[in-house]
Amino acid sequence: MSVTVSIPTPLRSFTGGQDTVELSGNTVGQVLDGLLTAHAELRRHLVQDDGRLRNFVNLYLNETDIRHLSSTATPVHPGDVLTIVPSIAGGAPSTTTEASLSHAEILRYSRHLLLPEVGIAGQRKLKAARVLTVGAGGLGSPLSLYLAAAGVGTIGIVDFDVVDLTNLQRQIVHGTSTLGRPKLESAEARLTDVNPNVRIEKHETRLTSQNALEILADYDIVVDGTDNFPTRYLVNDACVLLGKPNVYGSIFRFEGQASLFYAKEGPCYRCLYSEPPPPGLVPSCAEGGVLGVLPGIIGSIQALETIKWIIGAGDSLIGRLLLFDALKLRFRELRLRKDPSCPICGESPTIRELIDYEAFCGIGAEPTYAGPEITAEELRREMQEKDSELVLIDVREPHEWDIAHIEGARLIPLGQLPERLADLDGHAEIVTHCHHGARSMKALQLLKGAGFSRVRSLAGGIDAWADRVEIGMARY
């Protein structure tokens, strides 16, 4: 009794034309050895130099691929049939780094092709490249525009927001005609107008620990254009776990930063900032403002680093943190070192999967909105009824007061409030307000701590007031 080995047509010339060979053995491996001993010519077609099966050679024991059993150690029994099944593979000489260019593309990219550092080879690499930009906002705008114009073949964008009037001062991929539309749609229309050869892959979702690895895995390089710490740590950790480069950029008011984090060759974001700042310490652009041209500069640097990385030209920002001060018009550079004790890319990492980044950054633990509030409509009614008894304190900054303010309010910026408590009547009923409600709540806590008992905060700030009570008031 023995095992029957079924020989496929292409190999029959090596078995004297036989379509089956009878062999004995206890395992698939032993039967295979017997086959190769009996018909030595088969060896080079079935196994590699190291003795392992070639990857396009499949062995089925009866009806099951031996890879689903115990591979060559799978036991065999008399009467079993071992079938050799080819998988057929091949393809044009092109690899992913060699996309071909049409005549129209050659003309379009002629100024690139004239640069020896780019040339046809570099331009093909750009066409074959898959870049993911996280965010289609301030940084994502110039970044995606330049990547599209440069001929990056596939640009993925993650965003779930809609275009708002306050975006247009800096988010140049969007326009007045796309107000209210999803940013992904708006960006796709503009980018494919810039370069119809580019494929835009839209991910209309918030990047989370659940979907990040799946989304990022499909791309060669990731560009972080986010404006919050949880997403920044998420992007960093996902890139380290997937072994992908992360082009970092951040902006605030008049200052920006950029670097290229690539844990295989240098430090990651956690090597630079192992812990996020306490929540509320660093205001977002929506709270602190940003000069519109600043993301244009930092986002363009990110596009530059992405393109250099794809074509392999020049010195990258790996291990360097670039700092830019727009008011002084000064660039500075810090050397970054890989931290051997980094919890994700160090010598003995403790983070091996994505975590809860909101919790890590202390979001949710923040003591915001923990006080009595008053709605804009109630405030108007009470102001009309009680008239002079109610004290309305505007805790915003003077330049915000100049944009718009509520008639009858007193301006005491939050920073000055502790020194000006003496100006306030301890018996008065007080309402604090700011732009959206966050600073106002801090002011309320401060006043309560100083013994003022009748204090409420205007929910939604002056923005809610302008939206629902004083229609026509300027909003910002």
Partner: protein, 141 residues
């Protein structure tokens, strides 16, 4: 061996390759083989490689199914065809590395979306290269 097939089948092959462009198409050359390989049918196969438009893969499961189906009609697999978008109808290093002996590998170049030249190849026994295989195209009357 000589690969024999009709002009009509070649036309079918060119159209399939043009439709797949800029991706590659692939499939099975089915027929009977003795002194010559007489192709009587093309069996298009789903390309299992979706990650790279310049690669094709026919899975062993697909191949077993097609072999069984053809066996019902007393036909066998004589070889495979695939397209080379914007590249010559000659085997790439990757083609040679993955080739099986005896089978015919018919390659058609698609140039900017239009099918151009085609050629059939066979693997040398030492696996070092593929040699051109004579192609006999007859017209059906």
């Amino acid at each position: 061996m000589t690969l024999r097939l009709s002009g009509g089948l070649l036309e079918e092959l060119r159209r399939e390759a043009e439709q797949a462009y800029p991706a590659e198409c692939c499939g099975v050359l089915a027929g009977r083989g003795s002194v010559t390989k007489d192709v009587t049918r093309l069996v298009p196969v789903t390309n299992r490689r979706t990650d790279d438009p310049h690669r094709y893969l026919i899975s062993p499961d697909d191949l077993r199914r097609i072999t069984d189906d053809l066996h019902q009609e007393e036909l066998e697999i004589l070889g495979f065809y695939h397209s080379h978008p914007d590249h010559p109808a000659a085997p790439s290093a990757y083609d040679i590395e993955h080739a099986w002996p005896w089978y015919s590998y018919l390659i058609v170049r698609v140039s900017g979306g239009r099918a151009a030249e085609l050629a059939s190849w066979q693997l040398n026994d030492d696996r070092a290269a593929m040699r051109p295989e004579p192609l006999d195209v007859f017209s059906e009357v």
